[in-house]
């Protein structure tokens, strides 16, 4: 045990120094406060749910039927009626100036056609410059109009029941598991945690080592009896602690603010997050060995982070990507962590179900960290 103690004592000194520096440089504030702010901001921003779409209704008919349809839109939380008009000439101006994102246009023969038993047409004009939300808005509008149509149909059937009897029909009963409200925040918030974890650990680690390189401290330490492995251990352990603390903080804050459900095991989340932290710290050390200045390290970190955001399934589903890019995602550690963190948060998955992802992260971590230690040994002489 003497040798282990011999190894650990300088590591302890290194850690002590690291914590003093963190406290003095106010870095600790950045490491604690910034993730919380990021989680809150990203959590709000990253919701893809569309509600309160500014809507104009152009009711050329002004009949009881057309007003009944307008009311359906007025009462929906998806649509905010910003303009109710009879004049179709104003549509162009309203959509063009972005005052309204969608227009419901009811023609002047609306009620007449319904009464005659013909098909009445309602026009929905969407703003295609934001294609994603236009698609969602149009299908919402379609649902409202379909329901309106069904009501008219049902009224007619009821009045004819004596003649035709009851009619068979099929209705759908929706059940969405794991995220019943289909709230995108529930999916995004766990993803944001993964993102923040990467930013904090990867960037801070690489910057911290490069700063010591810049100031000549690493070179100075090489001539002391402390070994490169001890230097790394002394620098890495505080950042593991910070990374895990950030996870706890962000999970709690997001739970309070976004009411994100957390059904899985917290302990499992911490253990698997530890793997992800090790991957990131290893990457951070690798970056630091090839960077001479803090700016270079910053650039390299961003370069590593971009694919972690774009190819991990955090924002864009991997299944929708071109096949070649899908293969590429296997090289992105965040890909595995996304499955892990969403699985634990929303599905309550256990270790056995997450074994493939955990194993991938573990292997990744071992490779990256070994390479990092080798590279660091080389640069540190």
């Amino acid at each position: 045990m003497g040798t282990l103690k011999e190894f650990l004592v300088p590591v302890g000194h290194m850690m002590k120094k690291e914590f003093i520096e963190m406290r003095r440089s106010k870095l600790v504030i950045m490491l604690i406060i910034a993730p919380i702010i990021q989680a809150i901001v990203f959590g709000y921003v990253a919701t893809t749910d569309i509600t309160h779409v500014p809507t104009m209704i152009c009711d050329e008919d002004s009949s009881s039927q057309s007003r009944a349809l307008s009311d359906k839109f007025l009462n929906s939380e998806y649509f905010d009626i910003v303009d109710l008009t009879r004049n179709p000439q104003t549509i162009q101006g309203e959509l063009g100036s972005n005052r309204a994102k969608v227009c419901i246009r009811i023609p002047n023969d609306f009620e007449k056609r319904i009464k005659r038993g013909e098909t009445a047409v309602v026009q929905i004009i969407g703003d295609g410059t934001d294609s994603n939300s236009a698609t969602q808005t149009m299908s919402r509008a379609q649902l409202i109009i379909m329901a309106f149509s069904n009501n008219i149909f049902a009224d007619k059937i009821t009045s004819m029941r004596s003649v035709v009897g009851t009619l068979p029909s099929v209705s759908m009963e929706e059940r969405v598991w794991y995220n019943p409200e289909l709230a995108s925040a529930n999916v995004m918030v766990p993803g944001v945690i993964g993102l923040i974890l990467t930013i904090v650990t990867l960037v801070i680690m690489s910057l911290s080592i490069v700063r010591e390189k810049e100031s000549g401290n690493i070179e100075q330490m090489v001539v002391t009896p402390i070994t490169p492995l001890q230097i790394i251990a002394g620098k890495v352990i505080p950042y593991i602690a910070i990374g895990l603390a950030d996870i706890v903080l962000v999970v709690v804050v997001c739970g309070l603010i976004f009411k994100t459900p957390f059904v899985g095991s917290f302990l499992l989340l911490m253990v698997l997050s530890f793997l992800m932290i090790m991957v990131n710290l290893g990457m951070g050390i690798l970056i630091s060995t090839v960077s001479a200045t803090q700016q270079q390290a910053m650039f390299s970190s961003i370069f590593i982070m971009m694919p972690n955001i774009l190819l991990s399934g955090f924002m864009f589903p991997i299944k929708n990507m071109p096949v070649v890019l899908q293969w590429l995602t296997y090289l992105i550690p965040m890909r595995y962590y996304m499955v892990i963190i969403r699985g634990i948060f929303l599905k309550g998955l256990g270790f056995m179900e997450l074994l493939p992802q955990s194993a991938a992260l573990f292997v990744y971590g071992v490779i990256v960290f070994t390479a990092a230690i080798r590279a660091f040994r080389k640069t540190a002489g």
Binding site: V9, H13, K17, S215, G216, Q220, V223, T224, G381
Partner: protein, 300 residues
Amino acid sequence: MEIVVNVEKLDKNFKGVKAVDGLDFTVNRGEIFGLIGPDGGGKTTTLRMLSGIMKPTGGAATVLGRKLPDEAEGVKEHIGYMCQKFSLYTDLTVEENIRFFADIYLIEKKELDERLGPLLQMTRLAPFKDRLAGDLSGGMKQKLALICTLIHRPEILFLDEPTTGVDPVSRREFWEILQQIHTDGVTIVVTTPYMDEAEQCSRIGLMFGGRIIAMDTPRDMKRSFKGVVLESHPADIKSFREIIASSGHILDQQQLGSRFHLVVEDMAAADDFIKKAGKDSMTHVIAASVEDVFIERIKE
């Protein structure tokens, strides 16, 4: 005399460029040995190899009887090395910096407490021990760095340009401290681009292009100067310049304000020039400096 550093045919190549080229020298115990020369001369590379940070590409070096780089680990605790850009931990106080380096040298707390006082006193940093290193002046930073390299009581100190970028007053103070350490029996190997610092050393090696082009005590080095150095304070600079131009004997000339620093081949040439320049120019023979020797040698 005991040889503590022995360097034989030491080479260091960086991608085909010879930074250090067949270096030979020895350092005796208790000496201040100065490696003096311009930037890019290979001084830093030499020091880094002797401190075990860098592996030589050829030749042999022993420090305190241990062969480098194989036995570098055994040497570490007996040497102190201060690298050129060493700027310590700016967010730590003076005392915390010292304690950190003492800690990683595994010095007992009691022992450190005994050493700390005298070191702070010698460097006059005692009143600033609670100040952040980042708030120190350049000269104070260098003194703090020196303490950090002295804390484990090394037998040899390798100092890489410790006075570069330090103001003249602090520079002088720094050398006073080095002389004191030297008196205490520590061998010092120091590099500097400042020729005037040669006077502070027991022995100097002039380094240029990866080689030592001259090595001696500062006194003998200056005696080895082949030419004669003249100094003039002419009243009429313009006509004096014409005299210089018309005289074929001037090997090297340098105008320092209204003063002229001239080198001629021998005493005969000197007498000849003094006559030509006339009494008004106040031309007279002065002693050669290390810089004169350096310029003469690189011209050869």
